[in-house]
C-alpha cells in the first residue's frame, strides 16, 4: 500500500494511524531480528504520534500530508531525546537535545517515526557491514547486503517495516541501497534539503533524501522535507519543491543522454556487470518508446569522480569527526592525560573503516600534501562541474546504472576497500557536482535481484528526476523490464 493511500485513509478516518502502525510493528516483530534494519525501534514515540494524528482526525482538525504514515529515520539524524548513534560506539547513549530540521518537518507533516535505522558507521560504506551494531540484511535475500550506507532505511522500506524512510547520500548512500533493495531512492540537489541535524560525514557532499516503494511517494516525501532553512547556510534560498507536480508530465520530447563512461560505452569505467547494463538498455528503450530522444553522450571527467571523492570526503570527515574526543558526550575511555584520553577514546570508539578514512583525509590535508591531493581533487570537482554543465546544454537529463552490480553477498567486498569503493562510481559524480539523482528499480539481474537505473538532472531540477523516474517505473510495472 502506498504512503499516499495510507495518508488519505487516515485523513478520511477510513483507517486509524494506530492500526496502520500496528500492522507495520507486527512485521517488525516478525523479521527485525533477522534483518537488523533498526538500531532502535521507537515504538513509544510512534504510538504517541499515531494517537495524536487519530485524535486530530477525530476532532476534525486538518492533518499533515503524511498523517499516520510510518516512517524510518536513518540513525545519523538528530532526534531530540532519542539516542542517535551513527552506528558508532563513540556516540552510543548520546541523546541529541534538538531535532534535525527534516525531522521537525516530518513530525509537522504527521509522519509516525517507527525507528532509527542502521547504517555504515558515520555513513562510511556501501553495504552496512561497517555498523558497530552488526550488518543489516537485504530483505530480498538475507545472504546479501542491502547496500549502504543507508542500508537500514532501504531494508526497512523493502520489508515494509515503514512505508517511507529518510536516508543520507554522500556518494550514493541512498541510491545504491535503493537499487539493491528494489525500491526508489533519491538524492536531492545540494542545498535543497536542510542539513541541520544531519551528523556530518562530508559536509560539501551530504544530503538527506527520500526512500519509498514508488516514485510518487518519494516525490511527496521530497516535497515535504525540501525547502530553505535559515539554520543551514548552504541551503538554497527561495527553493520551492514541486516534485509531485512533475509526476504526470511524461518524457515526450525530453532529451536524455546516456553517459558513455558510466554505462559501459567507450572509455567506460570497468566492473559494470552485463545484466546491469542490459537493464540500462531496456530503460533506454522504454524512454524512447515514451517519446524521449535518447543519445549516448561523453562526460570524460566522470571517471575521475571516484578518485576525487575519496580525497574530498575523507578530508572533510577527518575534520568533522575530530569532535568525538571523549570530552563532551558519548564514549570516554579514561587515561592519565587529556591527550591519552582522546586517543584511547577514539581507538575504542571508531571502527576500522572510519579510522581508515580519518587517516586518509588527515594525510590529504597535511602541509606538503595539500596541493597534490586535496587541491587537485578540488580541481577535478571544478572540471566535472564544467563538463556536466556543458552536457546539460544539450540534454535535459542523463541516464546511468545506479550501481555496477546487484546486491552482493556478505563479506564479498569487505576485505578490500577498493572493490567496495568502486560500488559508488556511478553515483559519486552528482555528489561532487551537487546535482540531483534518483534510482528507480528497472528489471532484475541474473541472480533475480533488482537492478536500479539512475536518472541525473542539473541543479535545482529535482522535479525532472521524478518525472523521468515515473515513466521508467510505469514501463517496468508494465513488463517493459525483464
Amino acid at each position: 500500500m502506498s504512503a499516499r493511500s495510507i495518508a488519505a485513509d487516515v485523513a478520511s478516518g477510513a483507517r486509524t494511524a494506530v492500526s496502520v502502525l500496528d500492522e507495520h510493528l507486527a512485521r517488525v516483530a516478525a523479521r527485525e531480528s533477522e534483518l537488523n534494519a533498526f538500531n532502535l525501534v521507537t515504538e513509544d514515540t510512534a504510538r504517541a504520534q499515531a494517537e495524536a494524528v487519530d485524535a486530530a482526525v477525530a476532532a476534525g482538525t486538518t492533518v499533515g500530508p503524511l498523517a499516520g504514515v510510518p516512517l524510518a529515520l536513518k540513525d545519523n539524524m538528530c532526534t531530540r531525546g532519542i539516542p542517535t548513534t551513527c552506528s558508532s560506539r563513540i556516540l552510543e547513549g548520546w541523546r541529541p537535545p534538538y531535532d534535525a530540521t527534516v525531522v521537525s518537518r516530518l513530525a509537522d507533516a504527521g509522519a509516525v517515526f517507527v525507528g532509527k535505522t542502521n547504517l555504515d558507521e558515520f555513513a562510511m560504506g556501501s553495504s552496512t557491514e561497517n555498523s558497530a551494531f552488526g550488518p543489516t540484511r537485504n530483505p530480498l535475500d538475507t545472504g546479501r547486503v542491502p547496500g549502504g550506507s543507508s542500508g537500514g532505511s532501504a531494508a526497512a522500506v523493502a520489508a515494509d517495516f515503514a512505508s517511507l524512510a529518510i536516508g543520507s547520500d554522500t556518494g550514493g548512500s541512498i541510491r545504491q541501497p535503493a537499487a539493491f533493495c528494489g525500491i526508489v531512492g533519491m538524492k536531492p540537489t545540494y542545498g535543497a534539503v536542510s542539513r541541520y541535524g544531519l551528523i556530518a560525514f562530508g559536509s560539501s557532499l551530504d544530503q538527506f533524501g527520500p526512500f519509498a516503494k514508488n516514485v510518487a511517494d518519494a516525490a511527496a516525501l521530497f516535497d515535504t522535507i525540501a525547502g530553505h532553512d535559515p539554520l543551514d547556510s548552504t541551503s538554497i534560498a527561495d527553493y520551492t519543491p514541486n516534485a509531485v507536480d512533475h509526476l504526470d508530465r511524461g518524457v515526450e520530447g525530453l532529451r536524455v543522454g546516456v553517459v558513455r563512461e558510466l554505462a559501459g560505452g567507450e572509455g567506460s569505467v570497468e566492473g559494470l556487470s552485463p545484466d546491469v547494463l542490459a537493464s540500462t538498455s531496456e530503460a533506454i528503450d522504454a524512454l524512447t518508446a515514451a517519446g524521449a530522444h535518447v543519445e549516448e553522450v561523453s562526460v570524460p571527467s566522470a571517471t575521475l569522480g571516484l578518485s576525487a571523492y575519496y580525497i574530498v570526503a575523507p578530508a572533510e570527515a577527518s575534520s568533522n569527526l575530530a569532535r568525538y574526543d571523549g570530552v563532551r558526550y558519548g564514549l570516554r575511555v579514561d587515561a592519565a592525560t587529556t591527550g591519552e584520553m582522546n586517543t584511547a577514546t577514539r581507538t575504542a570508539g571508531f571502527g576500522a573503516e572510519v579510522k581508515r578514512r580519518i587517516m586518509l583525509g588527515t594525510y590529504a590535508l597535511s602541509a606538503g600534501y595539500y596541493d597534490a591531493f586535496y587541491g587537485k581533487a578540488l580541481k577535478v570537482r571544478t572540471m566535472m562541474l564544467r563538463d556536466f554543465a556543458s552536457v546539460y546544454e544539450n540534454f535535459d537529463v542523463l541516464l546511468t546504472p545506479t550501481a555496477p552490480t546487484t546486491a552482493f553477498p556478505f563479506g564479498e567486498r569487505s576485505a578490500d576497500p577498493m572493490t567496495m569503493y568502486v560500488n559508488d562510481v556511478c553515483t559519486i559524480p552528482s555528489n561532487l557536482t551537487g546535482h540531483p539523482g534518483i534510482s528507480v528499480p528497472f528489471g532484475v539481474g541474473d541472480d533475480g535481484l533488482p537492478v536500479g537505473v539512475q536518472v541525473l538532472a542539473p541543479a535545482l531540477q529535482d522535479g525532472l528526476t521524478f518525472q523521468v523516474g515515473a515513466v521508467l517505473e510505469a514501463a517496468a510495472n508494465a513488463g517493459g523490464a525483464s
Binding site: N76, M77, C78, T84, C86, L91, W94, P96, P97, Y98, A100, R195, Y196, G197, L198, I199, A200, S203, S204, P230, L231, D232, S233, T234, A315, E316, S318, S319, A322, R323, D325, V327, R328, Y329, T337, T338, G339, N342, T362, L365, S366, A367, Y370, Y374
Partner: protein, 491 residues
C-alpha cells in the same frame, strides 16, 4: 616645542632602560579583539562576559553532532569597519577550518580565515606619526575557557579540568601587524591607538583586563643596521599595556644575552609571567601542529560589494588620529593632553568651547586635569567657554575656576552666577597690594629672607607670604598676582 621633547626624553629614561645600542628590537603584534555584537559569531547565544559557566550555549557553539554555523552579519560589518578604520582593503573572503585538538575547542577545529581574509594591507599611524603596517585583520571564533585544577594549573599535570563554553563562538577579529615596531614605547602606543579606534568605532569594548582585547607579541632582535628577521618568540598572556612593555623588554634582553653568549633563541611560544617578570617556555613551534586548513564547507564565501564597503566608509566616525590632529591645530598643548581628551570623548566639547571664543590651551588642560569623570553631561560648551574666559581674564583664580568647574559638572549652571553665589569676586589689585604691604610690615624677618636669602629661602618665603594672603582672602587671591607683587616690591 623643546618642552615636550624634553618631557618625552625624560619619560624614556624612566620607563625604557634602553637596549644595548648595537641591537635593534623587532616586534610584530597580534591583537585579538572581541566584537561587541549582541550574539555569537555562528549562533543566537548571547555574547556576554561573565555569566554562570555553560549557560550561553546551544548545539552550534557546543559543536554538537549535526549542528551548523550561520554567519552573524553584524560581526562581518564590525570586522569591515575595523578593517577600513585601519586603512585595509576589504576583499571577498572565505572561512576556513583550523584543525587541532583542545578540550575548549568544541568542534576540535576553529572556524577562522586563512588564505582569504576579509581585511588586508592597512596601517596604523601612532600619535607621534610613526606608521605600523597591518598585514591582515581577519574574522574568527573564540574558544571556550579551560581551568586546570591541581598540578600547577597546566593541562598535563592537572587532576581534572573544567571547561566553560560561554566564550566559545564569540566573534573575534585578529589584527596582525607587520614586524614594523622598533621600540617598546611604540608597541605600547600601537595598542593604545588600536584601543582608541575600537572604542571610537564601537566595534569592541577593548578591555584588556577582561580579555576582550588580547595582545600577543612576536619579538626578535637583530644587530643595528641589519634588515634580517631573526628567530622570533611569541609572547602570550599579556594582560595590560604595562605588562606588554615589560614582556617585550624582557624577551629582547633574553635574546641579546643568548646571542652574546654565542647561542640563539628557539622559535617558540612563551608565556609571560607578570608576577615573576619573566617569560617561560610554552610550545615549541618546531613540533607545532599541522593545522590542515581548508575552506569551511558549512559556510558560504563572504562577498561584500563596493556599495557595502562604501556604506561602511560613509558611516565611519572621525577616528582618534584625526580628532587629535584637529585639536592640535588649534592649540599648543602636549600630545598626552590631546590623547586624553580624545580618548575620553571630550573633544567635541572642547571644540565647541574653543569655537565659543575660549582659550584653546586652557580649555584642553582644564578638561584633562579637572574633568576626569565618567559623566560630564551637565557641562555645556558655552558654560565651559565662559568659565575658561573668566579664568583667563583674571576674574577667577585657578583655584576658584576649579571649584566652579566642579559645580558645573555636578549640576550645570552659569559659571558667573556660581562664582557670585560662592562669593568669588576678583580682588581689586590695590586691595591685594594693601594686604601684601601689611604682611611685609608685620613680618620683617621673613621679608628679609625673601629679599636677600638664597634661592631656597626665597622659595620658602614666597610660599609663606602666599599662604598668609590666601588665608586672609579665603583662597580668593590670584597666586600669580601675589607672586608678581612680591617680586615687584623686592626689587
Amino acid at each position: 616645542m623643546t618642552g615636550a621633547a624634553e618631557k618625552g626624553a625624560a619619560e624614556k629614561m624612566v620607563h625604557e632602560p634602553t637596549l644595548p645600542d648595537e641591537w635593534e628590537l623587532v616586534v610584530g603584534l597580534e591583537v585579538h579583539v572581541e566584537l561587541a555584537t549582541q550574539t555569537k559569531l555562528f549562533c543566537g547565544c548571547a555574547n556576554e562576559f561573565s555569566t554562570e559557566p555553560n549557560t550561553n550555549v546551544c548545539p552550534t557553539c557546543l559543536g554538537l553532532p549535526g549542528s551548523l554555523p550561520v554567519m552573524n552579519a553584524k560581526a562581518v560589518e564590525f570586522a569591515m569597519t575595523l578593517g577600513r578604520a585601519l586603512g585595509c582593503e576589504v576583499h571577498p573572503s572565505v572561512m576556513a577550518r583550523k584543525n587541532y585538538f583542545y578540550p575548549d575547542m568544541a568542534k576540535d577545529f576553529q572556524t577562522t580565515q586563512y588564505d582569504q581574509p576579509t581585511n588586508v594591507d592597512g596601517q596604523l599611524v601612532l600619535a607621534d606619526g610613526a606608521v605600523v603596517g597591518i598585514e591582515r585583520a581577519h574574522i574568527e571564533e573564540d574558544a571556550g575557557k579551560t581551568t586546570h585544577v591541581g598540578g600547577g594549573g597546566r593541562i598535563n599535570d592537572a587532576t581534572f579540568s573544567l571547561v566553560d563554553y560561554n566564550r566559545a563562538g564569540v566573534p573575534l577579529v585578529e589584527v596582525v601587524s607587520r614586524p614594523d615596531i622598533r621600540t617598546v614605547e611604540h608597541a605600547k602606543a600601537y595598542v593604545s591607538e588600536l584601543r582608541d579606534i575600537l572604542l571610537a568605532t564601537e566595534v569592541s569594548d577593548a578591555k584588556m583586563e577582561e580579555g576582550s582585547m588580547r595582545v600577543d607579541a612576536n619579538v626578535s632582535v637583530r644587530p643595528m643596521g641589519s634588515d634580517e628577521l631573526r628567530t622570533r618568540c611569541e609572547l602570550k598572556n599579556i594582560n595590560s599595556v604595562r605588562s606588554l612593555g615589560r614582556a617585550i623588554e624582557y624577551e629582547a634582553r633574553r635574546h641579546i644575552d643568548l646571542y652574546t653568549n654565542g647561542e640563539a633563541p628557539r622559535q617558540e611560544t612563551r608565556h609571560w609571567d607578570e608576577e615573576g617578570g619573566r617569560s617561560t617556555r610554552g610550545r615549541s613551534k618546531e613540533d607545532a601542529d599541522d593545522y590542515r586548513y581548508f575552506q569551511e564547507p558549512d559556510l558560504v564565501p563572504l562577498a561584500p560589494s563596493a556599495e557595502d564597503v562604501a556604506a561602511i566608509d560613509a558611516a565611519m566616525p572621525v577616528l582618534p588620529a584625526a580628532r587629535r590632529a584637529r585639536l592640535g591645530e588649534l592649540s599648543t598643548v602636549s600630545a598626552d593632553v590631546l590623547s586624553t581628551v580624545v580618548e575620553r570623548g571630550q573633544d567635541t566639547l572642547a571644540l565647541d568651547a574653543i569655537g565659543a571664543g575660549a582659550d584653546a590651551d586652557k580649555v584642553l588642560t582644564r578638561l584633562q586635569n579637572d574633568v576626569a569623570v565618567d559623566d560630564w553631561s551637565n557641562l555645556t560648551p558655552s558654560a565651559l567657554a565662559a568659565l575658561v574666559t573668566l579664568e583667563t581674564s583674571g576674574d577667577l583664580t585657578a583655584t576658584q575656576a576649579k571649584q566652579v568647574l566642579a559645580d558645573l559638572i555636578e549640576s550645570g549652571g552659569d559659571p558667573a552666577a556660581i562664582a557670585a553665589d560662592r562669593g568669588f569676586e576678583a580682588m581689586e589689585s590695590n586691595e591685594l597690594e594693601d594686604l601684601v604691604d601689611q604682611l611685609i610690615a608685620d613680618n620683617p624677618d621673613e621679608w628679609a629672607r625673601f629679599t636677600s636669602g638664597d634661592d631656597g629661602d626665597r622659595k620658602k618665603m614666597q610660599g609663606f607670604f602666599t599662604g598668609q594672603i590666601m588665608k586672609a582672602t579665603k583662597g580668593q587671591a590670584d597666586g600669580r598676582a601675589i607672586a608678581q607683587l612680591l617680586v615687584a616690591k623686592s626689587s
